[in-house]
Amino acid sequence: MTPFSLQHGKSPELRLFPHLLELGMKKNGAMQLDTFPATVTECIRIYYIIEGKFEWRINHQPYFLYPGDVALILPGISFGSDNGVLEIGAFTWMHLDMQKLDNGHILPGKWSGLSDTESATIGKMLSMNSTPVLSRFSEAGKILKCIHTELLAHEIGYQTRINHQVDELLIKMIRHMTQQVVHPGRDFPQTFMRLEELLRQDLSHQWTVEEMAALVGLGTTLFTEKVKSYSGFSPINYLINIRISEAIKLLKRPDISVTDIALDTGFYSSQHFATTFKKLTGYRPSEFRKNHLRNE
């Protein structure tokens, strides 16, 4: 593979692909200074290491990257190396524009062949990504190479094929991410704990079983079965447990309105909250609050 660099707006090869902002491959034969400074962009940046060892800073944290590793940098995250140093080695990269929603979530754009729900799930999981380095992930290198080849060869169907490959890369990255979380397939308690953490971090989100299952890297049927046998509850009922427990804590504080509590803890409306709360506890939320603030 020979080095190249394509940029949207400059390289005609990318005209049909407005979402591909940059694509390239670099071989660096000697250590260079001031060539790889830390920058922040609005797109997703994906770097795949072919040769050598790189020390890069992602979100101000240092990471060592080795051949087969992928660095995944989200919009708004700084990425580069100290003093702009570029070490000896080779890597390929892609800068991918994403659609941004008002709530801060990101989505692949219209070009993508992903279904709406899967697209939303992938966007959500990308933005929650806590490990920006995906290790031992040579499939990413193959996909990036294929995209490059297609771009140059211009054979029939290449536009479709390239977009498919980008979708493929997103799917593979998500799968790799979920499997990288602590001993793939081994430690359900730990995986469940991690899931619980993620649910709590974003309790106002309308979680679907599909999203939860994807976070753990299981199909929905097996996921539901595992959660049921481990926790005694279906995933949605377990989530209701967390929601009501958090709501109880908030109800015991005088400074938040019941409607805000309902929405913050993920209920559709204060009505939905009141019904669920009363069914389980026998109290209306306002009644419960009154009982517990009696001495204030």
Binding site: Y63, R186, N241, S245, T281, N295
Partner: protein
């Protein structure tokens, strides 16, 4: 038809059973709640989630199994894990999470107090070993390091006291749970002044005390309605998991001991007198004013074998650790008794009884060139059980143990039960069908209702149908190897401390770089 409902507030979740008046299980359900480890040495649980989960499981059980069959709930009886602390304000609202038994934040306090005259006299008075698990030390820690919480605290409760208070409005603690706080004088059954002084609190900071049969008041109206229970439903305060597991196995009286091995483990006996021990190795908890549950707890039980399985097992089915453990046990069963002289010290989590050394660490010893992977598997299991045996051995210096019972998920794996029988050279009884803790709560309830005259009579009715007989030849092999196991555990004391200090010194806080470098 009447029934009895038992609620077990455990470490990993709540387990609720419904029994008929003959002690037969009508139905059971469980609900998980998490532990949070926000910082090293901390283990906390959310009291509201425990409460909601309990309510939810209870409601499901009643609606699916009890109400449709027209059972009438005569009484609800509680049991709970020991040593938890929850601070609440003057409205009874929690100030932060509950601190659970495995929380180690008070380890410095424990170390300072353990070998002092005050430490020894507190141990003798309260029966609770001077160890970070003790609520007395946890409260002292809060006073020292979390001053704002301490100042706002109106009462220090246990998790069970909180759940009962939510349901009935009463602040109560039974003698069993209280005897595991390090604050109760187990001889007089009143709060121990020196312990309160050490913790920096007065008796008004604690809930009211009551015997395990005490009525905890009436369910609040809202819960009567949501659960569909009449106001006459008796709410019994109940006891602790450890005491009830012992009662549930019928271990009351001379010659009997019970072994519990779940994640962690314990060997327990019950009798009319406390065990005195110069080295402060045993706990003495109160079941009733004339019976004490005594014994020693270990940190390293089934959780160590789970750890082993996660590291070295084959995971053909994702997340199916039971299957992988089963495969390893089959592998282990093909290795000769004693693992051809490979020994494993299971102290991965430090150790309580009988070493009481938080710095203890694990080790394989005796490796030779003929040992294979499967020997490591068998040695791991044998090591965990040698440790159980070593607790039993120290107990038998004071109590005659002629027969044993086993409960808990790891101990009741047939391969393990047989090993226990062989190591102890005693017959081992068990009942695989359900939890000993809940059965103990049933016996307690049945006695309170007058079905039995006394707990003694109730305990005598316990039948444990499955018996594992010891194999003399195997016992001789284990006895030989155990003598080395025991020597090693004592001899390595200095090295345990050295390595544990080095581990602390060289373990930098977990950073992404650190995670990455291990892949090189």
């Amino acid at each position: 038809m009447k029934c009895i409902v038992t609620i077990e507030l455990g470490t990993n979740g709540v387990r609720i059973f419904a029994f008929d008046l003959g002690g037969r299980v009508i139905a059971s359900m469980k609900g998980y709640y998490p532990s949070f480890h926000t910082e090293p040495d901390r283990t906390e649980q959310d009291p509201e989630q425990i409460f909601i989960t309990t309510l939810y499981v209870m409601k499901n059980l009643l609606n699916e199994h009890i109400h449709p069959k027209k059972y009438q709930v005569a009484c609800v009886c509680f049991s709970a894990a020991m040593h938890s602390v929850l601070a609440v304000d003057k409205n009874g609202n929690p100030l932060g999470n509950a601190i659970t038994w495995s929380d180690n934040r008070a380890k410095k306090e424990a170390q300072e107090l353990r070998n002092t005259a005050l430490g020894r006299s507190l141990y003798a008075a309260t029966g609770t070993p001077i160890h970070p698990m003790s609520p007395m030390l946890k409260i002292a820690w809060i006073r020292r390091y979390d001053k704002e919480r301490f100042r706002q605290t109106s009462k220090f409760l246990s998790i069970k006291s909180y759940i009962i208070q939510q349901l009935t409005g009463e602040y109560l603690m039974d003698y069993s749970i209280a005897s595991a706080t390090g604050l109760l004088n187990i001889h007089t059954l009143t709060w121990e002044a020196d312990a309160l002084k050490y913790a920096g609190i007065s008796a008004t900071h604690l809930p009211g005390l009551g015997p395990i049969f005490a009525n905890a008041g009436k369910l609040k109206k809202a819960y009567q309605q949501s659960l569909g229970l009449p106001p006459v439903t008796k709410i019994l305060i109940g006891s602790s998991d450890g005491c009830l597991a012992t009662l549930g196995d019928g271990v009351k009286g001379e010659g009997k001991a019970t072994i519990t091995i779940e994640d962690s483990g314990a060997v327990r006996v019950m009798g009319p007198a406390v065990l005195k021990d110069e080295q402060m190795r045993f706990f003495n908890y109160v079941l009733t004013e004339d019976s004490y549950v005594s014994g020693g707890p270990t940190n390293n039980g089934g959780n160590i074998f789970e750890w082993f399985t996660r590291q070295f097992g084959d995971f053909t089915n994702p997340f199916d650790i039971e299957h992988s453990m089963q495969q390893l046990i089959e592998e282990a069963s093909k290795v000769p008794v004693g693992a051809d002289g490979l020994l494993f010290l299971p102290y991965l989590l430090g150790e309580r009884a009988p070493l009481w050394n938080a710095n203890a660490r694990g080790a394989y010893f005796g490796l030779n060139i003929k040992h294979e992977r499967r020997h490591f598997v068998r040695a791991a299991i044998e090591g965990i059980l040698y440790e159980i045996y070593s607790i039993g051995k120290t107990l038998s210096e004071q109590r005659n143990i002629s027969s044993l019972s086993v409960n808990g998920s790891f101990g009741t794996i047939p391969f393990c039960t047989q090993l226990i029988a062989d190591m102890f050279n005693r017959p081992v009884h068990l009942r695989r069908k359900f939890h000993s803790v809940s059965y103990g709560a049933w016996l307690l309830s049945a006695t309170e209702m007058g079905i039995y005259d006394s707990l003694d009579q109730a305990a005598r009715t316990v039948e444990l149908p499955d018996v594992y007989k010891p194999n003399k030849q195997h016992h001789a092999v284990y006895a030989d190897y155990f003598s080395v196991f025991e020597k090693l555990s004592a001899k390595l004391s200095d090295e345990f401390e050295l390595i544990s200090n080095l581990q602390q010194k060289h373990t930098v806080a977990k950073t992404p770089v650190k995670q990455k470098t291990k892949l090189i």
